[in-house]
Point group: C2
Chain length 605, copies 2
């Protein structure tokens, strides 16, 4: 799964793996499963976020949930239409970072990258905490241990993604369909009843300590906007669709918009009708579920499906962020190691980085969804705005037929998302949005510092210029550190003679008796190579060897130190071997400029 | 200090360091400071251990403390006389392990080594917990956090010993003298008073649930024997004394015996006279201190001195165990890495091993001195017995004048310590001694398994035999993995040409455009070396390179892979570099038998 969702960001750049033909590409419905769980699952915390803000003005204020949800759905519609155009213009996908880099320039792309990083980390955290909230609604005993349960979930995701999971959109089909059916079932089931089937959770006293003014409404709106996160995923992954790609991707985008809007409005209607207020120990969605299905098996099943889907939504970040980091690494804006995929097709450094960042944030927020929500949507809205601004620029430059009309759509989207982003920022600043305001510029600074370093290194290495021809050197000397006359010495000298014009063996001994014995054995063996014995009364092997090598290097010849290493057959014996050679190699590499060679000698024991 | 005390075990083998002339050798009094803190400090827990056993038979039974202490003092006298002979016979010192290896053979030396390891670890743990008990007697708030305080103390000792402290016996002089004066002052001061000056701690109900039978007396005796630990240290370090060594060391041994005996008997008299019973929150020694000095500043000062001396006693193990482990490593009975002293004169692997073992034991025992005491003295008594048996064997073999008389002294010592050891074992078996009974044979097994492995490796390497002459090889091929045409490539090819008969550069590229661009640049540069480009559509760099190298190695030539590495000027930039080369080197070393060479290229940025 990780890999399929990974293509959110990487589609145009990563060639197909074996077995990935057109057949493995997504139909519209499969695309909905693979790419929209992040967005659909936000109905688990979006409506609740509105309710939690409004209840500050008393239960009466909760009636405002419906109009606020309608406003959010209007924004959703604008986004969906706008993203349908993004899909048509960028059939190569690539996400806000790629689009900003192409259409808007360096700074915008850094802004997009920084906000995407924040967004991915928060997606993991919010999805996990909301998932545990849903689980705790079914199993109240978990409520006290939310943080440990979240961390266990995070560890699970990390382990799965480090191993690398080959995905299949078909695997995601079942939970997606079950989730949509369950949520729409809640809406329909509850509407068909006169009274709620059951009431769950514990009553909480509601005290109005604010009035339902404009500020509170804007706050509720901005909290509810967390439900919009994830609607950009489809546009980022157009190449993963089956042909005709653009048409299928657009269709999926509209399906996502329609379903998400329907669920949001339906839940808001229920909240108004059933006078749902926050209750202890259960989520708003769980209350509505109990109202529709009762508190029997269907209640448990629905909560479990919601948990599962939220866990899968958290997993989308594990597909997305490591790939984004690898793109940044390839653009020299993050350490190159984030672009390494050692043996498995997994960017393990990116996976680990995401896990560490998410764990830190979960611990800092004590796994409380409502503390994370204020941080959440800002990064996403920056991405929305940049994507659409890029498209406006695109229309203005290319000017195809009807470009004004199209630029108007995207411009409207950009203005709306900018407005929504500013509302978010100002109403939530002290509640946590300031963290994002600080983090995003710091990340941008980090990216540009890294880029500057790599530019300087490239300058120094003369990348892109033809260097002088390699200088011929006056012969080579291979130094072989040895301790005894043995087959290891024989093996090492054989290799050294093949490599060097001259070979010399060096032994460091602290015991004069032993060094004499070695010299005698050497004379008897007579391997045709000189042996130098260094007396080291202080038992240090490394320091005298480094000095010897440094001295030899003064001659201007090419010096190589060939360190023979005994390799045991079983890994468990490794602790019994090798340490001296590795230590010497490390110190030589740190303190001299010579070539350091390791020669393995494989034991049969 | 670590180093001076280190010489407990290593004296005959480690040559002097610069500045260690005769002047730096110990006088008798300095020897007492440097080598007897471990033994002297046991008055802080030895008498208490007796009292805690006897109180099970009611406060009346505490009168038995004095006769039991007299029996222990008699054993002490026998040990001191016996060790005076050990000093004369083994002026090279070396401890129970060296003596057993020389006089008693392999199995006995393994037994000695295993029991010494147990002893050193327990010395750290008991000294730390008793030290924290003393500290908590002065500052009762600490009583609840004994384990964390112990672990902090352990971390401190570990850090100090990892850095390597040059010691001076003179530094230890002051705490030693203060400690002796303070304890003898307690004895004298208390005896001069009619009534105790002050009572500290909280009263605890005493209920007699056993009768004062033989078993209880033997148990109390064996617990009290923990006071004898450490009297062997002087005999292990004879070479650290100033000439005449043997005389000075013997004098120190007698001083130690006299002082320790005096303190033990004195404290036992006080316990009888003042009817001291265990009280909550304070140690028995602290009660006696308060009885003599009151609970003012002198009480605090004495407890602090006791704590300091116990901390220094714990430190003796950091001098002793790493050195013992290095001797075992040199005898091929522990991994050789324990014999490594990288840059500083510190066996850091041994220090870390001791710290980990002690931390595990502290956590398992919850830092409770009274849980550790039953484990403590057994290892020590094994060492006592082996040392003296070795001497009996020595007398019987050498037969100098008066050898029968001498053998009788050591034989009596051996019988007494064997008896005491058996009493210890049987009375304390279920209370914890079983741990030692299991651990010692396991350690012996470990040592002999390690030795067997090294013997097999030596066999395979033909150590001690003259091998065949190094076989000439048919030329050499140096493979240089490269990514770009750059100064790095120029540098690497220069070095490779000096080392190989033939040089070939290899690039792995996933992007056909890039590989074409590289080939064009190569043609323009024309460095005189062939370039092979491997297309790797899956972005894996390592796997294709390994296959290329394996293929090249089939020819029978000596193959070397020369990996150029960019080394940034500042360590903090290292994360930005190098990872690919290191990864390739690691994989090549694990999967092929070729020579793997690293060539540094030092950046100015």
């Amino acid at each position: 799964m990780a890999y399929g969702l990974a293509r959110r960001e990487l589609a145009p750049r990563v060639p197909l793996r074996p077995g990935e033909g057109e057949k493995n590409h997504l139909t519209s419905l499969e695309g909905l499963s693979a790419l929209s769980l992040d967005a659909l699952s936000s109905v688990a915390y979006g409506p609740e976020a509105i309710v939690l803000v409004l209840v500050a003005a008393g239960t009466g204020a909760l009636a405002a949930t419906l109009p606020i949800t309608l406003a959010i759905t209007f924004l959703l519609a604008a986004l969906v239409v706008s993203y349908a155009q993004v899909i048509a213009v960028h059939p190569d996908g690539g996400g806000a970072y790629a689009v900003a880099k192409k259409d808007l320039g360096a700074t915008s792309s850094l802004l997009a990258a920084a906000s995407l990083v924040v967004d991915y980390v928060l997606t993991v955290c919010v999805s996990l905490t909301a998932g545990v909230d849903a689980l705790a609604s079914a199993f109240p005993d978990l409520a006290r241990d939310k943080l440990p349960v979240c961390l266990v979930g995070l560890a699970l995701l990390t382990a799965v993604n480090l191993r690398g999971v080959t995905d299949s959109a078909r695997v995601l089909m079942l939970p997606t369909v079950l989730f949509i059916v369950a949520i729409l079932g809640v809406v329909v089931g509850d509407l068909l009843r006169a009274h709620p089937a059951a009431v769950v959770g514990t009553a909480q006293p509601v005290q109005a300590h604010e009035t339902l003014g404009l500020l509170l409404i804007l706050k509720a709106f901005s909290s509810g906007c967390s439900a919009l996160t994830g609607v950009e995923a489809i546009a980022n992954a157009v190449p993963t669709f089956r042909t005709p790609r653009v048409r299928r991707a657009q269709r999926t985008e509209f399906m996502l918009g329609g379903l998400l809007g329907l669920m949001l409005i339906g839940l808001a209607v229920l909240i108004r009708r059933d006078h749902v207020a926050p209750r202890g120990g259960v989520t708003v969605l769980a209350q509505l579920t109990a109202g529709a299905y009762g508190d029997g098996w269907a209640y448990y099943a629905t909560n479990l499906i919601v948990t599962l889907v939220l866990l899968l939504a958290a997993n989308t970040s594990f597909g997305g962020l490591p790939v984004l980091m690898s793109l940044l690494a390839r653009d020299h804006r993050l350490p190159h190691l984030f672009g390494l995929r050692a043996e498995r097709p997994v960017y393990r450094y990116g996976v680990v980085a995401l896990a560490l960042l998410a764990a830190a944030l979960l611990i800092a927020s004590e796994a409380d969804t409502h503390r994370l929500i204020p941080l959440f949507a800002i990064g996403v809205f920056i991405g929305f705005t940049l994507s659409q601004l890029g498209l406006v620029r695109h229309w203005a430059t290319e000017r195809p037929s009807g470009w004004k009309h199209r630029a108007l759509i995207n411009g409207t989207g950009a203005v709306l998302t900018t407005l929504a982003g500013l509302i978010l920022l100002f109403t939530k600043f002290l509640e946590g949005a300031w963290v994002v305001v600080i983090t995003v510029p710091l990340l941008m600074l980090l990216f540009s510092r890294v880029q500057r370093y790599y530019t300087e290194v490239g300058e120094e290495l003369g990348l892109g210029r033809i260097p002088d021809p390699p200088a011929p050197r006056p012969g080579s000397l291979v130094i072989v550190p040895l301790g005894d006359v043995s087959r290891l010495a024989q093996h090492a000298i054989g290799a050294a003679l093949a490599l060097g014009d001259e070979v010399v063996c060096v032994a460091v001994h602290s015991d004069p008796d032993k060094s004499r014995a070695l010299q005698e054995a050497w004379a008897r063996w007579n391997p045709g190579v000189r042996l130098d014995v260094i007396d080291s009364p202080h038992r240090s092997l490394v320091q005298p060897m480094v000095e010897y090598v440094r001295h030899a290097a003064r001659g201007g010849r090419q010096i190589a130190v060939l360190i023979p290493e005994v390799e045991p057959r079983h890994r468990r014996y490794e602790i019994l071997q090798n340490q001296r050679g590795l230590l010497l190699a490390t110190v030589l590499r740190a303190r001299t400029d010579v070539v350091v060679c390791m020669l393995p000698y494989r034991l049969r024991v």
